[in-house]
Every structure is written in structure tokens, then in C-alpha cells.
């Protein structure tokens, strides 16, 4: 009855050869194509470095004024502006300014990439059931696979530093953007679309002027989730050498420095809230404006 209690598994040697075979072929792949792939991502790296240097070279009052200005333009809400300014002052006063600038630079690029890639993929998914069937399981994998599993191959291909960090953050943070864009567009009322058809709208007009505006609440929920998740990934990304607020957090974890971990963790939270409130109120204003015109 052994065969009932013992699972029929691959022999030890076969299993080892199987694993080694995969490892070896990946290694020879990186040996052959690693340089080419690295140079493909080089422009992205240069852009990241440029943005980080720009933020670090910007005088701090200017940066705070810019954030306050953006906050005002996007939200027209004085509370959000004051809150952002106060938290930035606190971050700087507690000695976390430079790390925060590094984190901001990577999060900005990350959010832009996620929106830039996620929105079209989400739209594609909403328009084709086949695309949805293919993309959904991929998103499931991206969200559940432990990050270190894909960090190993990414590090072997691209080394440590900003680009592999960025890639791992995007993999983790893009799924909600795609899912919620898809969901939002699919939830648009059939009647509204029929009306648009009746007015002779082209598919493009329907998409841009009817579906996306009506899907905005969901899309902005996606933006919010993307920002939150990429900030949450900052600590993991710093494990492969991304500079920023994640690094002191790691240092605090391994040395059990309570205050250091807490302060840097809270700085990440503050950034998340600033990013989120500004983008959300921008989204709300966008919808209000549409709504007013519609009435």
C-alpha cells in the first residue's frame, strides 16, 4: 500500500537534473543576451538617474512650492495643500529629505509606467473577452507570486539597482490599474452605449467620450491602488539596491532600531497620502466638471 501514502514523485536525481537544467539554460541565456537586454533598458536607467538628480538638485523650498502648487491645481482644496506642506517639512526636518527624493523619483516613474501600460491593457481587456481570458490569469500570477522569485532572474539579467527595482515594483503594482480599468468600462450602462450608437458615435468617440469618462471612478480607484502598492513595494525594491526610504527601513529591521524604522515607514505613508489625495481629488474634479457640463 506504499503507493497510496507515498506520492509518486520524480526521483531525486531527475528532479535535481530538471532544476539544474532550467538554471543552466537561464544562465546561458543571461550570458548571451544579458548585455543586449541591459542596453535596451539603459534609456530608462538614464531617465531614472536624471530625474533623481533633478529632484536632489532642486532647492527644497522650490520642491515644496511645486508640490503645493500641484496640489492646489489638482484639488483646489487648501486642506490638502497645507497637509502636504506640513508632512514634507516634517520629513525634511527629521533628516529624510534625500531618501524621500529618491523614493519620489522612482514612484513617479513607476506610477506613470503603470498608468501608461495599464490603461491600454485594461481597455483592450474590456473590449475583448478573449483578451480578458488571457490577461486575467497573468495578473493573478503577478499579484501572488512572491517577489523574490522573480527578483532572482531579474537581478541575474540586469544586476542590482534602479531598473530591476522598478520592474519588480511595476509587476506588483500594475494589476489593479488593469483590472479596475477593465471593470469600469465593462460596468458602463448598455443603454448609454446604445444612445451613443444612436447618435452615430464612432468606436473611438464612444471610448473616449462615453466609456472612459463614465469609468473614471473605477479608473481612479485603480490609480490609487497602484500608488499604494508601489509605495508598499519600496522596501522590497531596496533589497536589490534601490536607494530611498526602503533602505533605512531594512537597516532598522536588521538592527532592531525602532524609531528609525517607524519614522521612515511613516514617511512612506505620508508620501502615499500626498500622492493619493492629489490624484484622487484631481479625479473627482475631473468627474464633477464632466457632470456639470452634462446637466
Amino acid at each position: 500500500m506504499d503507493w497510496l501514502t507515498e506520492f509518486p514523485e520524480l526521483g531525486r536525481r531527475d528532479l535535481r537534473d530538471f532544476r539544474k537544467g532550467i538554471d543552466e539554460s537561464f544562465k546561458s541565456f543571461t550570458r548571451t543576451y544579458g548585455e543586449a537586454i541591459e542596453s535596451f533598458f539603459d534609456p530608462l536607467l538614464q531617465f531614472l538617474i536624471w530625474l533623481e538628480r533633478l529632484l536632489l538638485a532642486t532647492p527644497w523650498p522650490l520642491f515644496i512650492i511645486v508640490v503645493a502648487g500641484l496640489g492646489w491645481l489638482a484639488s483646489r482644496n487648501i486642506k490638502i495643500v497645507i497637509g502636504s506642506v506640513i508632512s514634507l517639512f516634517l520629513i525634511g526636518y527629521l533628516g529624510m529629505w534625500e531618501d524621500t527624493m529618491s523614493t519620489v523619483s522612482i514612484i513617479v516613474v513607476c506610477t506613470m509606467l503603470c498608468i501608461g501600460l495599464g490603461l491600454p491593457i485594461g481597455i483592450l481587456m474590456s473590449r475583448s473577452d478573449r483578451a480578458q481570458r488571457i490577461v486575467t490569469p497573468i495578473l493573478d500570477v503577478m499579484q501572488t507570486i512572491p517577489s523574490f522569485v522573480y527578483l532572482i532572474p531579474v537581478v541575474m539579467l540586469l544586476g542590482i539597482g534602479k531598473v530591476p527595482g522598478l520592474i519588480s515594483v511595476v509587476i506588483y503594482a500594475i494589476p489593479p490599474m488593469i483590472r479596475l480599468t477593465n471593470l469600469g468600462i465593462r460596468l458602463v450602462d448598455k443603454e448609454v452605449l446604445e444612445a451613443a450608437d444612436a447618435f452615430g458615435a464612432s468606436p473611438w468617440q464612444k471610448l473616449v467620450q462615453v466609456q472612459i469618462p463614465l469609468a473614471l471612478p473605477n479608473i481612479f480607484a485603480g490609480v490609487n491602488q497602484t500608488i499604494m502598492m508601489s509605495l508598499a513595494m519600496v522596501v522590497i525594491a531596496s533589497m536589490i539596491g534601490v536607494t530611498g526610504l526602503g533602505q533605512p527601513v531594512l537597516k532598522a529591521i536588521s538592527n532592531q532600531y525602532l524609531a528609525m524604522g517607524l519614522l521612515n515607514g511613516l514617511a512612506i505613508v505620508a508620501l502615499a497620502i500626498i500622492f493619493d489625495r492629489i490624484s484622487q481629488s484631481y479625479g473627482e474634479r475631473l468627474q464633477k466638471y464632466r457632470g456639470d457640463r452634462g446637466e
Partner: protein
């Protein structure tokens, strides 16, 4: 609630049934380090204690600092097989003085070392890089990935003791002015990844690492000669401190790595035979490297490598254990 009590009772019953009836060894918690050689040594100790001395072994896996803290503050684990003691020399010394911990084996691994190393490709292509000064003069050979005009030195991950040392020696050798920048590797996995990537592609790599390790052995990393003196007091009061507490670091050799097998005094008195085994258990780095490479080649766990070692190296381990224990172990093999 009832269920909890029942399972608690079962737990007690099972643990006593294991421990009872056997020799004085009883329950042992072994501190298993979370890197290859630490895993291997802990599993080897565990195997020998279980089979040779009828101990009931459990493992506690963690990094150096948590292990030391737990040993000094909580009295567990009972044994740490491979502890890099420099990281917390003061805490360990204090506990030894208070007769709570005992350094059973002051050098379980001979020929170990840590410091800045370069990849085999760099050492082969540039034999003229003999000392640290030769290396520092050539930042162009080790370009920083984010700023190719500078040389890049891969630093130790944040939070490791070696990060402070590297930061201070970087200043002591005045490397910033000579065109160098530190590369933050973030974590042990990040540091390893950068070595594998560079070595697989035969690129130049310079950074902190230690031996005996799988990577140092497999990729033949070469330790850089610091070509400097060593002043213990300066090392202890400045080089190992955070940058803010070390105003004027001087060039220095890396301190000799002190690896110890540490045990609770309680345990050593309770199981003197096991303590004697640990005292005798000494590896030279080459032998250890052989089994680390075995682990890597076969993607084997520390436990598998320990069994492999027991099967193949009887001549080595039979000198460590008592005759009775050797008999018992041979029976189990």
C-alpha cells in the same frame, strides 16, 4: 479552549517521551544561521547530536544579530554552530564573563576571511592589481552602474556590521576623492546576485564578501590585500562604529574574522559529551568549501549536505566524537 489544552497536553507528553529515557542530553535548540555554511554546520551538529548522543534537536533559523540577542537575553538557542562574533563582541564577552555563555570552539572554521574581494575575471585580466592601492588607482576598471565615470565598490547590505566597516574604510582610503562611489546592494540576495551576474559574464566586480561561502568558492573571488597595519583599538573604537562616531578613520587591514561555536553554559554542563564534540569539531576552509559547492551543484539543503559529509568523511568526523557515539552514528548511516 478544550482543544487547545488537549494539544498542549499532547505536546508535553510527546516532548517528554522523546527526551525521557535517553541520556542527559535531552532537548537542544540549535541556532541555524541563514546562510549556506551556517545551515550546513547546524545540520551537521544536529545530525551528530541526534544520532550519536540521542539529543532531541530543534532548529531556530535567524541571522547573526537576532541569534546573539536571543542567546544572551532569552537563553535560547542552546548552541550556535557558526557565529561570526565580531558583530557583537562586547555582548558575547559580557555573557561569557557572567558565565552564561561559553565559547566551546574558538575557531570551528580555519582559513576563513572577509573583506573586499574582486571577481576572478578582474584578478586574471589585471595581475598588476596586487594591493588595495593598486585597485584604488584604477576606478575605470570597476565602473559604477549608475555613473560610469566613477568606480563602484559593492557595499555590504544595510544593517550588516560590515557596512559600517566598509563605509569607514572607504573614507580611510580616501576613495571618494580618487573617483569611487559605494554601491548599495540592499540585501544579501542583492549582493549575491551582483556577484553571480558579474562572474557569469566574466565582468569585473569589486565589493565586500566573505569566505568560506558557496559564491566565493565557486567563482573564485580574490581577497584584496589591504597592505596596512592593524590597530585593534582604532578598529574597535572607530572603524566598526557608525560614520558619525568615527571622525578620523585610518587605513587598516580588515580584522581577523572571529568565528566561534557558542553554547549556553547550562547546556555545556548538562551534556558534557556533546560539548566535547563541539570543541573538537574543526573544519578547514577547503573541506567546507567542498560541501558548500556540493550544496550548490546539487541544490541540496544543509541537511542533505550534512548526511553526504557523514557518509564520505568518516576519517574526519570519527576524530570528533566519542567511540560510543561513532558506533551509534555508523549504525544509523
Amino acid at each position: 479552549m478544550k482543544k487547545q489544552m488537549l494539544s498542549a497536553a499532547l505536546l508535553v507528553a510527546s516532548s517528554t517521551s522523546f527526551a525521557g529515557g535517553h541520556s542527559s542530553c535531552g532537548d537542544v535548540v540549535i541556532g541555524e544561521m541563514n546562510w549556506a555554511s551556517g545551515e550546513f554546520l547546524a545540520q551537521l551538529d544536529g545530525f551528530i547530536m541526534t544520532e550519536g548522543y540521542q539529543c532531541n534537536v530543534e532548529y531556530l533559523t535567524a541571522g547573526t544579530m537576532p541569534q546573539i540577542t536571543s542567546m544572551t537575553e532569552k537563553g535560547t538557542p542552546d548552541v550556535a554552530s557558526e557565529l561570526w562574533a565580531n558583530a557583537a563582541a562586547l555582548a558575547i564577552d559580557a555573557a561569557v564573563e557572567e558565565n552564561r555563555l561559553v565559547k566551546l570552539n574558538p575557531a570551528p572554521i580555519t582559513g576563513a576571511g572577509e573583506g573586499w574581494m574582486m571577481s576572478a575575471a578582474a584578478a586574471a585580466a589585471h595581475p598588476e592589481l596586487k594591493t588595495i592601492d593598486d585597485v584604488i588607482a584604477r576606478p575605470d576598471l570597476f565602473p559604477h552602474p549608475e555613473d560610469p565615470t566613477k568606480g563602484g565598490l559593492h557595499n555590504c547590505p544595510s544593517g550588516w556590521g560590515c557596512q559600517l566597516v566598509t563605509d569607514n574604510l572607504f573614507r580611510a582610503f580616501d576613495m571618494e576623492a580618487k573617483g569611487w562611489k559605494l554601491i548599495d546592494t540592499g540585501s544579501g540576495a542583492g549582493l549575491d546576485g551582483s556577484i553571480v551576474k558579474a562572474s557569469e559574464r566574466e565582468q569585473n566586480w569589486l565589493g565586500y564578501y566573505w569566505a568560506p561561502t558557496t559564491l566565493a568558492g565557486k567563482y573564485n573571488l580574490k581577497l584584496v590585500d589591504y597592505n596596512s597595519g592593524f590597530d585593534q583599538e582604532h578598529w574597535d573604537t572607530c572603524i566598526v562604529k557608525p560614520v558619525e562616531e568615527c571622525d578620523n578613520p585610518q587605513r587598516s587591514n580588515w580584522t581577523k574574522s572571529e568565528i566561534v561555536s557558542l553554547a549556553q553554559v547550562d547546556f555545556a554542563t548538562r551534556a558534557p559529551q556533546v560539548a566535547e564534540y563541539i570543541t573538537k569539531r574543526t573544519f578547514d576552509a577547503d573541506l567546507l568549501n567542498k560541501y558548500l559547492t556540493y550544496m550548490d551543484d546539487n541544490q541540496a539543503s544543509g541537511e542533505e549536505a550534512a548526511i553526504e559529509f557523514m557518509l564520505n568523511e568518516e576519517a574526519v568526523w570519527s576524530t570528533w566524537v566519542s567511540e560510543d557515539a561513532a558506533k551509534a552514528i555508523n549504525k544509523s548511516l
